[in-house]
Subunit: 541 residues, 2 copies
């Protein structure tokens, strides 16, 4: 059989555009003489519309689009992620208006829709609804009933949706035991470093345990901070990889299932993969929100250098402008490095000195401000000027903060946090260096080598205020990604006072993280939608 994995990049809520995209892929598959074309989870609406599912008319419009897909399935099989709905009458908590407006009264099912030859063969609802990390599926969906198996072009096929592959004793096993030779899983699986290998290991195990061929069609594209990385693949009943689509790229990937031979899986480089995710994330954020220009505050330090280099990779030099905003404290070295970087990247860089404005702001306030208030003042003047330039040019600001500084609040709210998207706020500082070292043909070596500084007071160095980044990042990783307690961290050998200092900074900076732009996720636990922590709390582990 000729089978096409349609690894597409729909836009959330753009149902008409997504329909056009899907129809064009069906047509391409038909022209390529494919028997079956498989689209990812929720391809019709993008992943995820979240509360837009509850807007009057949203699901109706999806269903109209799905009807068009049915009609287009003449002479071909089409599996596509969509929605089915059912009114229910159990009342629920219909006395509470906030529940009524949240879609009570209608059950929604996150489905794989299987069309063939102009008919709906079946809609297969998702059974396992993830509600951890970035997922909120139990907020919207009702779990589907048990497994089914279909015969298509002589093959016995089980179809399931994303998390249904991950659940032990779940739909995949059940469909195999009902006689499925093939399992087709449609996914919207977000990227983090190492995710591709985890998927392959899972797929290989499921295939071997059940003696089935596994077809995995994943979404691609950036959605706020969440990046779907594609990398759709096919696994043989012996657990070998038979086909591998590229990561971070939209495309129709066709294989002849009768002629497939085992291929060697390529190990993804962790930092290269993160770079691919960030580049796609920047590009899709701009494109899907209708912007074409970004502005970046270039300080001469490594964070802004990396963000600028990634932005140029995503958008091209013409789409990126830098602004160097020196204060009285900024060094000549910073200016030289900023301009050398801009030259390497072939981007415009303007100098907007802030010393006079700092003085004027201090003069405006009776008695002036000192200490941290004065340090923050400089960062906020920079934020204010960047926003003025961005507004004037209809550009978006990319925020340059990294995960280490965001975690300990070593940043200025409304200062360096200003922006529409935070591309590297899920990279620890040690990862920022690693990624920058891989781009040292464009990022000046001196920027990579110099000790980091916020340049908000004379001779300031990050490590005067913070633990060395190797130690800080190791603590933060256990704290954020593994939920380590104070005792866990001390038991793992970190110095008690350092742990206490880091925890204190981490807990008291939650309010700043609450006002960040979307953070591009490259780790199992990024700041933003996948991490829900109250601002007001007094837990101290």
């Amino acid at each position: 059989m000729r089978l096409a994995l349609a690894q597409i990049d729909p836009t959330v809520g753009a149902i008409d555009d997504n329909l056009s995209l899907i129809l064009s892929y069906i047509e391409r598959a038909r022209r390529s003489k494919c028997d079956l074309v498989v689209f990812p989870e929720l391809a019709v609406c993008g992943y995820s519309p979240l509360d837009l599912f509850w807007q009057s008319g949203f699901v109706d419009r999806m269903q109209e689009a799905q009807e068009e897909i049915r009609k287009a399935s003449d002479g071909i099989g089409v599996i596509v992620g969509g929605i089915t709905s059912k009114r229910h009458h159990d009342g629920g908590n219909t006395s509470d208006p906030s529940s009524v407006s949240d879609g009570a009264g209608t059950d929604l099912f996150n489905c794989a829709l299987f069309f063939a030859d102009g008919s709906l063969v079946a809609s297969i609802p998702k059974l396992n609804l993830p509600t951890f990390d970035v997922y909120s599926e139990k907020r919207y969906f009702t779990p589907g009933p048990g497994a089914q198996v279909f015969t298509f072009r002589g093959k016995s096929i089980g179809i399931n949706v994303c998390e249904d592959l991950w659940a032990d004793d779940g739909p995949t096993d059940a469909q195999a035991s009902l006689g499925a030779e093939w399992i087709i899983n449609i996914s919207a699986s977000p990227f983090f470093i190492g995710k591709g290998e985890i998927r392959h290991a899972l797929a290989s195990r499921r295939a071997r345990e059940n003696g089935i061929s596994l077809f995995y069609a994943n979404l691609v594209g950036g959605q706020d901070g969440v990046i779907f990385d594609g990398g759709s693949f096919v696994t043989s009943p012996s657990g070998d990889l038979l086909y591998q689509a590229p990561y971070f790229v939209e495309g129709l990937f066709i294989m002849d299932t009768d002629r497939a031979e085992a291929i060697e899986p390529k190990q993804q480089d962790a930092i290269a993969a993160a770079r691919g995710a960030i580049v796609l994330g920047i590009r899709d954020y701009l494109r899907k929100n209708g912007f074409s220009q970004v502005i970046i505050g270039i300080s001469g330090g490594i964070d802004s250098a990396l963000v600028a280099a990634l932005a140029v990779e995503a958008l091209g030099s013409d789409a990126v402008s830098g602004v160097f905003l020196p204060s009285a404290i900024s060094s000549e070295e910073s200016r030289d490095d900023a301009h050398q970087l801009a030259k390497n990247l072939a981007i415009k860089l303007v100098d907007v000195p802030i010393a006079d404005l700092v003085a004027a702001s201090q003069a405006a306030i009776e008695g002036g401000v000192s200490g941290l208030a004065a340090e923050n003042l400089q960062a906020r003047i920079r934020g204010m000027l960047l926003m003025a330039l961005a507004n004037q040019k209809n550009a978006l600001i990319l925020t340059t903060g990294n995960k280490s500084e965001v975690a300990v609040g070593y940043n200025t709210l409304y200062g360096d946090t200003v922006g529409a998207l935070a591309p590297i706020a899920d990279l620890y500082k040690t990862q920022v260096w690693e990624m920058a070292r891989g781009m040292d043909s464009i990022i000046p070596q001196r920027i990579i080598d110099k000790p980091p500084t916020a340049e908000l007071r004379p001779d300031q160095k990050d490590e005067d205020d913070l633990p060395p980044y190797e130690i800080l990042d190791a603590i933060l990783k256990e704290l954020i990604e593994e939920n380590a307690s104070r005792d866990d961290l001390i038991a793992h050998g970190f110095p008690k006072l350092t742990v206490a200092d880091v925890l204190s900074r981490y807990y008291r900076s939650e309010y700043k993280r609450g006002q960040l732009p979307p953070v591009i996720k490259v780790s199992p636990k990024a700041f933003g939608i996948g991490r829900r922590v109250p601002i007001t709390h007094r837990y101290r582990s």
Copy 2:
């Protein structure tokens, strides 16, 4: 029986402090010769720790605290909201690190713990786990099994948790059919206007249908933007109100169940109730986050006047400072009104003129900026100066935006959105006027009467840019709270062009709402945690 409703205001995560509070209330109940004392849902940890539940050691510390409560139940019955946990071994998606860190491998149950005479009588897990609006309970909890009934001091008692009362054919009905004479429901039920009446109607119906007495113990207190309003009550088997605790106040409320007589429910005034919620929300946000001072940018307009008046009501005059930040455009009338307000409220007000800084900022940017960029610049200079003053005084800024302007993006990100808490951002402009009119002994009449203006360009009036607020607010209410579509709005008689304009403004300002501080919720659908909408989307209803 003497029964005490312990309507307490715990702090999220402050497990030791909450334990002390609970033990002191048990002791007070014992001294008052109560047989039974009932605390709200999740009283041990506060509602809700969200992802803190997954921090290593969090649940253990709750369980240690719960053990102390058991020991303190000597000679008295205690019902209190807490947690039980159970390791499970089904594997789940243990191959995905982001699921592992999110508590996979352990089931948590949101329980009513029933202690008596030093023993745990039972832990009753919640069955209905709300995952709409501000709730995310399916992210954390496993639903409990069926209903049980206990005999205590000769009474047959069914106990359940919050949403379990709201579900038709739910635990309340099941417990009644098992012979319960009393149903005790422990809740953490957030306020919105009219919620008290909705609860009473529900309780009355449940009581009558099942012939049971209903004891409803609700949490009180502010948690970021969510306000638990207390108002615990008791309903007779004929559906009459027997006891009503006050709203927005912590306390131990004792009744003799053998002597209770029907009382007339008091209708809450909608705006007065919202005012109570906002005042409690401001007070608790400051207290629980360890701050005692607020700063407010006072413009001479009604929004900042109302926020200042509410802040004084919450914190007292000494805790509130105003800053008047006139530009070249600001009128003398604005200055007079700002100062008259400050005088009425007995708060300090300093003038910090911004005209020179606006000019200096324009001069810093080659060619300067114009139009919207120039308007925003003024608002951002104000935000920057307010933050400098707030940092210097260790004060928090209260954001003065209302729901109408936040909904259509008629505000400046990092300008007037700056702040730690947005007290009136769930009040439509028409509600702002209504609340202000009720405070006209302190808010100058001229502030209430004058047409609203952002004063960012000469002779600007809100209604030059926006539809009249009566129409705008009516559209927004249907859109936000009822998920109305464009067609719905037009069918309800709103002008087509006005609807198009409002929808366009609403959709394109989502990025600003993504960076707001917590919004105090007074409606069924407030901006913030209870409304989850992607920034990147192209849905246009």
